[in-house]
């Protein structure tokens, strides 16, 4: 690994003997994580057993600097430090100490092992509680699809746990601050009933959804002397990065833990706290300053050039409606692209990227295209446009909708094909999608011909006919190389039909490894497809792990049930975070996701700056990220003034965070009509407009 040159401040931070107990803060790009990762190395080099070092990050994508340093040849051989999220630590410890706490926590089968639920499996069990309630006419006055209803109830449970509030109180808290339509009160109460019933079910079946994991960990495990002894014996050094992205209950535990640690480094990204929907609380994290003996603030950006910093200052002033002057030194650090429609914007961006990569020495992976939301259609259009211009690109999305992922659909179709006992033969169109992805390289016509001529869903003996048996003119039309690939696919599937594979994950792993990823097949060297398939396999495995011990479904039906749940939308998205961005090229990502990837770039394009996505929080009628936080006083009405304040703060944090990750230039792209044909003019566009007006006035003055 190439050694980074550290600043004097960073060297000092990285030295645990100089700062054994340090609270380090600073905006993004000031080198905090780099210094922390070097501290990790130094701790190990100083002879501390690496296994006594614990690194906590709020989410896996933020662990990259630490993971990299561990892989560095200079890192001492032997045991490894642990890099975990608090959630991961809780799960591991609950498993370890289960016999100690299961009965006292209230689980009805304390001698049976626990089953940890994922968001998907939690939704599955929540559906079993809520669906009967819907049938009884509950939740009638709220307009919400069932899947969203399930996830909002789970959200309430999680948020309660993350602030250390009893799960039975969230509805009361929300109702006491709610000033909107009184018709919404009844569903809020019903939400509480559903949550309580769900919790009962969890106790009955030894299920631990995320909220229960946190509660059990915090309420039953953490106070246990045995556990405390284990903790203090095991870990002597703690590095806790991005504490502002974590929840108050974690901060509480660190406060209690810190006196027993030999060294402590707490790192706070000033102005961040982007994961407020997952309980992030920068106010609470700031309070950790009191537990460290020293505090340091890093101020100098190691990333952004002067112009960008000035641009950021103007943007912040404009967002907060503060007076400022147009700064001529910032002029070259930003551009504004205005277009009427999305495709025009994409064309202009493509041309600009072509220009700066060809003539200005900027590499493709030094560019990011950011949007508040990244719909499938937008992503597809951007990639198409880039492909046509010969620009490489890579996408990064935090959650993937199962149904909209073509690679996942392909694997599900193949699973159906080799499981005729499910009586769920794929349609011709589903097979066509398989062929277009795997065999014909995007050629829809030949994929269609293959599906028409060779696929016979009703033929029980030979569902996929042999290419050799069709008429020669059709073989000519389809082409022999496609025919050859088809025959490879067919042979592999026939083999599986003759020698069935019991479990889906095994089938999919083999299918991908032995067939789909092979040369000439469509998923060969496709990072995106392999990532999706890995997520699919992981999702299924977690589903099975939960279903098997609870016997909720007969063992031989788990695979089929999983497919049914995916198709009915109960399993709607994969929420797992990819470790890191794979592939090369211009990065396309939603703005908030990008912020948590720790990947500064030279140039950023911000799409559709008028979109409410830059400004508003996603509204969910049955949950509330701010009322269900510790910083909110119960019974205080949540009014629009609060809403405006948090919107402005979020936008300000987002804009600052993005520009702190931008070296040289940002392009603000305003589109008159979004893909829905509607005009949006929210805060970010207004702020950019203010800057434009200031520069127009300055130009006029100069003339």
């Amino acid at each position: 690994m190439e050694k980074l040159q550290l600043t004097l401040e960073q060297i000092s931070i990285a030295d645990p003997s100089r700062h054994p107990s340090l609270f380090l803060s600073g905006v993004a790009g000031t080198g905090k994580s780099t210094a922390a990762s070097r501290r990790l190395l130094n701790l190990a080099l100083a002879g501390n057993p690496p296994s006594s070092i614990l690194v906590i990050v709020p989410q896996r994508s933020l662990s990259t600097p630490f993971a990299s340093i561990i892989q560095d040849p200079s890192f001492p051989q032997g045991s490894l430090p642990e890099i975990v999220t608090f959630g991961g630590l809780a799960r591991r410890m609950i498993s370890l100490f289960w016999p100690l706490i299961s009965a006292s926590a209230g689980f009805k089968r304390p001698h049976h092992p626990p089953a940890f639920l994922t968001l998907e499996t939690s939704q599955y069990y929540m559906a079993s509680i809520v669906n009967p309630m819907i049938q009884k006419g509950m939740f009638e006055t709220v307009n919400l699809e069932p899947n969203r209803l399930f996830s909002q109830i789970l959200d309430n449970l999680n948020k309660s746990a993350l602030i250390g509030m009893p799960h039975t109180l969230f509805a009361k808290r929300m109702i006491s601050s709610f000033i909107g339509d009184q018709e919404v009160i009844a569903p809020l109460i019903q939400t509480q009933t559903a949550a309580n019933d769900f919790r009962e079910l969890c106790f009955k079946l030894n299920l631990l959804d995320f909220s229960l994991q946190i509660e059990v960990f915090h309420k039953y495990l953490w106070p246990s002397l045995l556990f405390q002894k284990h903790l203090t014996n095991r870990y002597h050094h703690l590095i806790y990065d991005n504490i502002e992205e974590d929840a108050p209950i974690y901060h509480d535990m660190v406060k209690e833990w810190s006196p027993s640690l030999d060294t402590l480094l707490l790192i706070q990204d000033c102005g961040a706290g982007y994961r407020s929907f997952l309980g992030a609380d920068p106010v609470s994290s700031s309070s950790l300053q009191t537990v460290a003996q020293q505090a340091l603030v890093l101020k100098k950006s190691l990333i952004s050039e002067n112009g960008i910093e000035r641009c950021s200052f103007m943007l912040q002033s404009a967002i907060h409606h503060q007076e400022f002057d147009a700064d001529p030194l910032a002029r070259d650090s930003f551009s504004i692209i205005t277009c009427r429609l999305v495709p025009e914007t994409l064309k202009l961006i493509t041309n600009e990227i072509k220009e700066i990569t060809s003539n200005k020495g900027i590499k493709e992976n030094e560019i990011v295209v950011l949007a508040p939301y990244l719909s499938d259609s937008l992503l597809f259009s951007v990639i198409q446009e880039f492909n046509a211009a010969g620009i490489n690109s890579q996408e990064h999305r935090p959650s993937r909708s199962v149904k909209s992922d073509p690679a996942v659909n392909c694997l599900i179709t193949l699973a159906k094909l080799v499981n005729p006992q499910w009586d769920a033969q794929p349609s011709r169109y589903a097979m066509r999608e398989v062929f277009i992805q795997l065999l014909t390289r995007g050629d829809l016509i030949r994929a269609d011909l293959l599906a028409q001529v060779l696929y016979a869903p009703k033929n029980s003996t030979e569902t996929l006919a042999s290419f050799d048996n069709i008429q020669s003119d059709m073989r000519e039309r389809i082409g022999y190389s496609i025919g050859e690939r088809y025959m490879t696919l067919r042979a592999w599937l026939m083999d599986i039909l003759e020698n069935p594979v019991a479990d889906l994950d095994v089938f999919w792993s083999r299918c991908f490894g032995e067939l789909l990823s092979q040369k000439d097949m469509g998923f060969h060297a496709s990072f995106s497809a392999s990532n999706s398939i890995a997520l699919l396999i992981e999702s299924y495995q977690k589903f099975r792990q939960v279903m098997e011990p609870t016997k909720s479904i007969l063992e031989n039906q788990i695979s089929h049930e999983y497919i049914n749940l995916v198709e009915s939308g109960v399993i709607a998205s994969f929420y797992m975070e990819p470790w890191k961005i794979v592939g090369e090229g211009v990065l396309i990502a939603p703005a908030y996701t990008y912020l948590l990837t720790n990947r500064p770039v030279r140039v950023q394009f911000w799409l559709d700056i008028g979109s409410p996505g830059w400004w508003q929080r996603p509204f969910q009628p049955l949950t509330h990220p701010y009322i269900l936080s510790r910083n909110w006083e119960e019974k205080r009405p949540w009014t629009d003034a609060d809403e405006s304040r948090v919107s402005t703060d979020s936008l300000s944090r987002l804009a600052a965070g993005l520009l702190q990750r931008c070296c040289s230039r940002v392009y603000f792209c305003a589109t008159e009509f979004d893909e829905r044909g509607s005009q949006n003019k929210t805060g970010l566009l207004q702020a950019v407009n203010t800057i434009t007006r200031k520069f127009a006035a300055l130009d006029l003055k100069n003339v």
Partner: protein, 743 residues
């Protein structure tokens, strides 16, 4: 250079407070109002977060205002579209709700269902309601009628109940009455109200159906907007601050809720300009709009009143004719209660040297058919007359205006028969159909991509949609024919290396190489997108072909509909989705409130063709020659003996207008006015007859004022020979004859 008339200058001098402007037809109010908006922006009093809010009636006006103000803003080198916002009421309500959906229990991606879906839901509910409540029909049917054996009668009742249910729900929502609240109120009424009971039961089921879909209808949107503003004062203050000026166009068609929303947004002592013409208030029958709100506003203390009486639209003869209708109504209408149906000011011609001078006068420019005839004869005569007139006047615009869709459909039939070119602006919305039809064709092709016929069909439709550049329009047929005959389409779209499809298919015709290049790029893009979910596929296709905001919005709406369909039918594939779109494309229905008019219909683009439209849809438009048809006492009743009223059905006992009776009771329950609940049956029917006649007088006025140079008014004696010439027309004819005799 814009040179305002003195009266316009008076309006433009506005800088603050409340102002009401009475504008006659053709007085240039759109122009004046957009200029006023631009002036207010240019005055520099707005900060970056503030906007002049312009609220108008239809989407076409939104475009019109936006482009006019936008041009001005552009000159100032500012970001386009900033400093103002033009919205229809629904658009404004959507903006408000979208900003704080949590206040009304909505998620941020709520679905708005269109009128057809609303109708479909209501139909289903009414059907089962009728089945469960046979006693209702018995109690309200004429005694002599046999409900058991008369199928037509049951169908008529079904249609009528559907209509009653729609209006009940609309009014209940306008009154902010949720089914639960209404049920509570009804409990305190000590006697039976079968009409209200029926409405409430259907309304309750309907709301349940909407919630199940996670959807809201257009009326909910308005109701929720008001609710959101009322429930959070800080939200209201924020919006008041954002929109320090509100300019409202077509204010005569304001509903109670619209007025309430705008009044809240303007705030006490706020800046609110309302422009309208109470003589053109013609939407009461279909909506909860009422000109009384504008009239009351004009009388309010502190409201400055202006008028725009000058119109350069019509000849002096036509202006005089319209003014004499106002005169007759005000002074001579036999029914006192109808004398306020039309009000002053009179229309005045533009002053000398005005940039919009009136057409040269033609004293013979008005023809009124005097002798009676059957409906089909009336249509024949009109079409025959046009057949003679049109060839000599291909540089002029002409319209047939009818009071009802079915009359228009008959006219269209005759025009078609005679081979006369026409454009239909009736119930159907061809723009919607065209968009849906194009998307249908594309989906069909993508589901069967080996079909050259389908490929050729998309090619043709794309050209017709003006997506590919217009220049080589003549080559559509040549290109389509070539594509249709292609052998092995895969070689055309995805040739193997070294394989030129032209060796099999012959050379591509001259001038088509580049066009085919663009076309195949599009097709290949769409092919790749077939792997996306259906809604995303439709959005991707739309992004590639539509450049009009309304088309995009429409495509987005269609995409959402298909997404909903996909959720309910997980096994659906492209052919099923294409079929669903096809239904939309072929259905004659209003969809999302978009129509040809919404697309910015300009009559001047259709010289040499006959526009067939309802008078309602013709509002805001003008033609050189106008045929105003069916002006009899059925379509334009005057509450005279022998007049037939559409709302009074033959099968209802005592010809009660059940809608009027029901809504009167609903209003009484809402206001807690028990005495109105006690009123005897028939009272509301009578009042509604007056209201209807009054609106029809204004409809006649609107029809007359669409004509620039020539106006031909015809009428018929009805299917059963029961109708006569409309009373106001008789009066105007007599006046005119008298005038010709004396002069």
């Amino acid at each position: 250079m814009f040179r305002p008339r003195p009266k316009q200058a008076e309006v433009l001098s506005y800088r603050q407070g409340k102002m009401g402007v009475a504008a006659v037809p053709g007085s240039g109010k759109t122009f004046t109002l957009s200029r006023l908006a631009a002036d207010l922006i240019a005055a520099g009093g707005l900060n970056e977060t503030q906007e002049v809010l312009i609220v108008t009636l239809v989407n076409s006006a939104v475009d019109n205002f936006s482009s006019r103000i936008g041009e001005f803003i552009k000159e100032r080198k500012l970001l386009p579209n900033m400093g103002y916002r033009v919205r229809t009421l629904h658009g404004l309500a959507h903006d408000i709700v979208k900003e704080r959906p949590d206040l009304v229990g909505l998620p941020d991606r709520f679905l708005i269902i269109d009128e057809q879906e609303t109708d479909r839901i209501i139909q289903r509910i009414v059907q089962s309601w009728m089945h469960l409540h046979p006693e209702f029909l018995v109690s309200y049917s004429g005694a002599e009628l046999d409900l058991q054996s008369n199928h037509r009668l049951r169908q008529s009742w079904f249609d009528y109940l559907r209509n009653l249910a729609v209006n009940f729900i609309r009014t209940a929502k306008d009154l902010q009455l949720h089914p639960r609240v209404l049920a509570e109120k009804l409990k305190s009424v000590s006697f039976d109200l079968p009409l209200i009971q029926m409405g409430l039961e259907i309304y309750t089921e309907y709301q349940r159906a909407l919630n199940f879909r996670g959807a809201v209808d257009f009326d909910d949107l308005i109701r929720y907007a008001l609710q959101a503003l009322n429930s959070d004062r800080d939200f209201l203050f924020r919006l008041q601050n954002r929109w320090p000026f509100i300019l409202e166009d077509e204010a005569q068609d304001s509903s109670r809720l619209q007025e309430e929303i705008l009044r809240l947004l303007a705030g006490l002592g706020g800046n609110w300009v309302r422009v309208g013409d109470t003589n053109q208030a013609i939407y009461e029958t279909f909506t909860t709009a009422n000109p009384k709100y504008l009239r009351a506003f004009l009388m309010e203390e502190g409201v400055r009143n202006c008028d725009l009486p000058n119109s350069g639209r019509s000849t002096q003869t036509i202006i005089n004719f319209a003014n004499s209708l106002i005169d007759w109504v005000q002074k001579e209408h036999p029914l006192d209660k109808l004398r306020s149906a039309l009000t002053l000011p009179y229309i005045r011609a533009t002053p000398a040297n005005d940039p919009q001078p009136n057409p040269k006068d033609n004293p013979l420019g008005i023809y009124i058919q005097e002798q009676e005839c059957k409906p089909e004869d009336e249509s024949h005569r009109v079409v025959n007359n046009i057949q003679k007139w049109l060839p000599q006047h291909m540089d002029q615009t002409v319209a047939i205006l009818v009071p009802r869709n079915d009359r228009g459909a008959e006219m269209v039939g005759f025009l078609k028969e005679k081979g006369i070119p026409y454009i239909e602006m009736l119930r159907s919305t061809s723009a919607t159909r065209k968009t849906a039809a194009l998307l249908t064709s594309i989906l069909r092709f993508l589901s069967d991509p080996a079909s050259t016929t389908k490929l050729a069909s998309i090619f043709k439709q794309l050209y017709e949609f003006e997506i590919v550049d217009q220049e080589n329009l003549s080559q559509i047929s040549i290109g389509a024919a070539y594509l249709k005959k292609i052998r092995f389409i895969e070689n055309f779209l995805y040739p193997f290396p070294g394989n030129d499809h032209q060796t099999t298919n012959g050379p591509i015709p001259d001038g088509l190489v580049e066009i085919f290049g663009k076309f195949t790029t599009l097709i290949k893009n769409w092919s790749g997108a077939t792997l996306l979910p259906i809604d995303q596929l439709v959005i991707t296709i739309a992004q590639g072909i539509f450049t009009n905001a309304l088309d995009l919005a429409l495509a987005h709406k269609l995409a959402l509909l298909l997404e909903t369909a996909a959720t309910s039918n997980p096994s659906w594939d492209l052919p099923e989705f294409a079929l669903e779109l096809e239904k939309i494309a072929s259905n004659e229905r209003k969809f999302l409130g978009f129509s040809d008019l919404d697309q910015g219909f300009n009559p001047d683009d259709y010289k040499g063709k006959v526009i067939v439209s309802t008078i309602h849809k013709a509002k805001g438009l003008e033609w050189d020659r106008v045929y105003l048809c069916s002006v009899n006492n059925y379509d334009f009743p005057s509450c005279q003996p022998g007049d037939l009223i559409i709302g009074e059905k033959w099968f209802v006992r005592e010809k009660l207008n059940l809608e009027a009776e029901m809504l009167q009771q609903l209003n009484a329950i809402h206001s807690g006015d028990d005495s109105s609940l006690m009123l005897e049956e028939g009272h509301a029917t009578y009042l509604s007859r007056l209201e209807y006649a009054s609106e029809r007088l204004r409809l006649l006025f609107v029809g007359i004022t669409r004509a620039r140079k020539e106006l031909i008014i015809t009428w018929n004696n009805g299917r059963r020979n029961e109708c006569r010439m409309a009373l106001p027309l008789q009066a105007l004819l007599e006046k005119r004859n008298l005038h010709s005799v004396t002069s």
